[in-house]
Symmetry: C2
Subunit: 385 residues, 2 copies
């Protein structure tokens, strides 16, 4: 590795840790300490694909209450390049986000976006969806790239087992991921306050999930992700897999459900003991006029909002809700003005982060189930569009 | 008129006025007092076409030092409709801009955007470029729409004489505009702190410009715009028309050069005694990677910026310059991320408004010409792209 960003210096870095501060049933509230600051859990991580949470300044992301964002290794390695970001001082400085960043391993996007991909036992070779150039991602290279990006939390390279998969396919795929997890662990350069997370695979099969959780625990990671979900299996199955997996993970380590989800998905997963989430839903929905609110989900393009003087969500204090009417937001989307996606992304992230804050508070006072019922009842207060 | 927005109440509204506070050669610095607050002149008005300055929140527009924005009657009358904006409380509330708003009359966009337009002596009939619906704009209707929008400054309906135009065409067109100016004056409902501006036409012909200025002065307006420029005639001609027109206008009334321009255009027009400007250049350029800076104009897509760790403009304190490198801005435009236009629009407006502030200060200390020379010399400090 030639190009590496500077490691934080000049102050005593905390050891990476996750301290559980309250428990309510299976749910936990905690604080994750990192080299780049603390994160209260359960935490939602906005997706900053290409070095920006789409349609948001870094200041605005912070203002929503986000404490950690996710960056995509696949996108950043192709453009502007991991070496370049390292030379420019790392991803934190590049995108003006001094707080924690988790990067994925690149494996998921290689399988969903890249062209002519070829998986072998040591890694995956693929062509960039941008210019057709050939690249290779192995566990060692993925870890190296994430180091170049200066990720606070690095994810092991894994194969996201497709859904559906037969038990045999799921086992072979999971075992490949466990092999790669070992390679990833060996390649990771420990730095104080930085973390490496393993990823549980095994599709919908409880015995495979348990075997995967035990294999990762025996390798030893700072946190454990549950991968291979939110890819079409449905919420009931997602929750069943969580119920069958989480008991086999170390109790204090952070548990991260990758790619999930709607507010309802997140509430259910928090009730089952999940600590971290990432998902494009609030940001992508914000660009397509879809609003997540305390009164349900609305499509702001709907004509019923053309003369609606109400605030989008009377319970929300974001700029879209505090300053404007639904009629104005409707107009912005009809007129295809950039301010529509800007304001609605801000709102959706603010709604998600307010929900996370309230979930943490409800766990602390051991009222999570009642709080969750109240939130779900609130969603029925207005007609959906 | 059935739907009218509420007129500001509950406080003593100032009489609309423009007080000249300093003079340097032909240039003037002043303060324009309005029902919606004060505006220091010379002033640049960002263009908020459809109820939003593109890619900017209202807070961000304010943060650039903008004191007044422009709204487009043509766009707003078609979508979301002037009656709707009136019902929703007026354009100030709709777009969260309590400060002054100037609206154009709609005439310019009818001629440049609408389909099947037909001009007659009383007005213009046209089809919407959005849905083909038929509309008619007369001086009376334009003034009514601007009242419904709650414009602080209303513009008379005029015909923007095309360039080039023969003396005969220019005279006929100017005389039609003067007839419409009278109709507009009669239709305007005076409200304390609100203003109606006339528009001088006459193409490039000094005697027509003088006749137009005298005609408008004899009708009597709160301010005077110079129209029919910045449509291809070139800066030398623009300045010659200004030199031939401004002496025939009342000395204290605000003078507004419509649709101008680049920083260099604005400096020259301020030196000649112009008080107000509007232009899409800083916002449109911001969406197309073109940066106006104290060191010249750059195209941020240029590969030379890919590894450039410098601030875009070391003399600027906007978020794009204070928080990010040119390399990051280059990446955002290459990746077609919305944050690129957002940050660069912010920067360009900030650059324009910092320039206006510095021009006002230079006039106050009677150092305008030396200051202008210094700004122009600064633009040569870096290679253009």
């Amino acid at each position: 590795m030639t190009d590496l960003p500077p490691t934080p210096r000049g102050r005593a870095l905390p050891i990476f840790s996750h301290r559980i501060v309250a428990i309510d049933g299976a749910a936990r509230a905690g604080v994750m300490h990192t080299a780049h600051g603390a994160v209260d859990t359960p935490a939602f991580m906005p997706v900053g694909t290409a070095g920006t949470v789409k349609a948001m300044t870094a200041d605005a992301v912070r203002a929503t209450g986000s404490a950690i964002v996710l960056g995509n290794t696949y996108h950043l390695m192709l453009r502007p390049g991991a070496e370049r970001i390292a030379r420019l001082g790392g991803l934190h400085r590049f995108m003006d986000w001094p707080s924690p960043i988790l990067t994925d391993s690149g494996g998921f996007q290689v399988m969903s976006l890249a062209k002519l991909r070829k998986l072998d036992i040591d890694g995956v070779t693929f062509q960039s969806h941008l210019d057709g150039s050939t690249h290779r991602l192995t566990p060692v290279r993925s870890i190296e790239i994430q180091h170049q990006l200066d990720a606070t939390i690095t994810m092991v390279l894994d194969e996201c087992t497709p859904f559906p998969a037969s038990p045999e396919q799921a086992q072979t795929s999971m075992q490949l991921s466990m092999r790669w997890a070992e390679h990833s662990r060996e390649a990771f350069v420990p730095r104080q306050g930085y973390a490496l997370f393993g990823i549980v695979q095994g599709s919908i099969y409880p015995e495979l999930r348990e075997a995967s959780a035990r294999a990762l625990t025996s390798i030893g990671f700072d946190g454990y992700a549950i991968g291979g979900l939110a890819i079409g299996e449905g919420q009931t199955t997602t929750f069943a897999v969580l119920d069958g997996t989480l008991p086999h993970l170390p109790p204090d380590a952070p548990r991260y459900l990758m790619g999930v989800g709607t507010p309802d998905d997140i509430i259910g997963a928090v009730q089952r003991g999940t600590d971290m989430f990432d998902c494009v839903i609030p940001t992508r929905a914000g660009r397509t006029a879809r609003a997540y609110t305390s009164r349900g989900v609305f499509n702001l393009r709907n004509a019923r909002f053309a003369d609606d003087t109400l605030s989008l969500d009377p319970d929300c204090a974001c700029p879209a809700c505090a300053r404007h009417s639904r009629a104005y937001l409707h107009h912005l989307f009809k007129a295809e003005e950039m301010l529509g996606p800007m304001l609605l992304t801000w709102h959706n992230l603010n709604y998600y982060q307010a929900l996370m804050r309230d979930l943490r508070a409800a766990i602390t006072v051991r009222r999570l189930d009642a709080f969750a019922d109240g939130v779900r009842a609130g969603w029925a207060r207005e007609e959906p569009t």
